[in-house]
């Protein structure tokens, strides 16, 4: 048996490789074992879905992700070209509108997805973490959209910032989250918050892939037959 071969001369599987590693405290081994156990590739990239997923209600989440892709694409263009371009040129105004309306669609379908999961109790059977990360995505998206309104570089953004200042101060966050500081709001909007929302969405999707879609209410394992 060569080093490239597993037991019985066949190619080593992931289980063979995991078994060949001695017990260790190495974090890479721990992470590799957890990923192999909890997130096998057939779960990450499935080739079929449960039959109960055949409903338009299950489309809302993926439409929200599609809208988020357009938000990011149009946002990258706007960040590259700058405020004068998006306010003055026809192409810039189009990209600006694309960014605004894809955000509207993102929120509309995120809320529809939330309704679907709320009325279907999507947190059942070990999926509480998936629900909670979804809630955090929603809250982070609100902050991201808010900083976006402040980053428009027009009278509306100034009006919103001045009116929001007292409210933010009242929460106690005004000392480190200054809505009148354009540089801070713009940096948060184009860099940190989009990275946070995107990372949380990726985690949310991976959580769904790990456990699968929750069965409809009344059709759970161990429940009464319908």
């Amino acid at each position: 048996m060569t080093e490239e071969q597993g037991p019985a001369g066949r190619s080593p599987t992931a289980d063979d490789l995991a078994a060949a590693v001695p017990s260790t405290r190495s974090w890479t081994v721990t992470v590799r074992r957890l990923l192999t156990e909890r997130l096998p590739l057939e779960h990450v990239l499935p080739d079929h879905e449960p039959v109960f997923v055949g409903s338009w209600v299950y489309v809302f989440g993926v439409v929200a992700i599609a809208a988020l892709v357009w938000v990011i694409v149009s946002g990258v263009i706007l960040a590259f070209m700058g405020p004068q371009w998006w306010h003055v040129s026809p192409q810039g105004r189009f990209a600006n509108s694309l960014h605004f309306w894809s955000v509207q669609l993102f929120f509309v379908f995120m809320v529809l997805h939330l309704w679907g999961q709320y009325f279907g109790a999507g947190w059942r059977h070990g999926r509480a973490g998936t629900w909670m990360v979804g809630v955090v995505v929603f809250l982070a998206s609100i902050v991201t959209a808010f900083t976006g309104y402040l980053a428009q570089q027009n009278f509306a953004s100034q009006w919103i910032a001045i009116n929001a200042k007292d409210g933010i101060n009242a929460t106690g966050a005004g000392a480190f989250f200054n809505v009148l500081n354009f540089g801070q709001m713009y940096g948060l909007h184009v860099m940190l918050l989009p990275a946070l929302v995107t990372a949380l969405v990726v985690i949310h999707v991976l959580q769904v892939r790990m456990r699968g879609v929750v069965r409809p209410i009344g059709d759970e394992p161990g429940g009464p037959p319908q």
Partner: protein, 50 residues
């Protein structure tokens, strides 16, 4: 576009008509998604115990 939106005011409820229309459209879309058959699904999925 450059004027304040008309508002619906009923008791403590105060909401602009565009926002109210959007919420109505979302509720309508949600109901349609529940009722409209999904392409490729001609039967209800088999329930447990059947």
């Amino acid at each position: 576009m450059n004027a304040p939106a008309p508002y619906f005011h009923w008791g403590f409820i105060l909401i602009s008509l565009p926002n109210l229309a959007l919420i109505g459209a979302m509720v309508g879309l949600f109901v349609v998604a529940l009722l409209l058959p999904f392409p490729g699904r001609r039967q209800r999925y088999p329930r447990r115990g059947k």
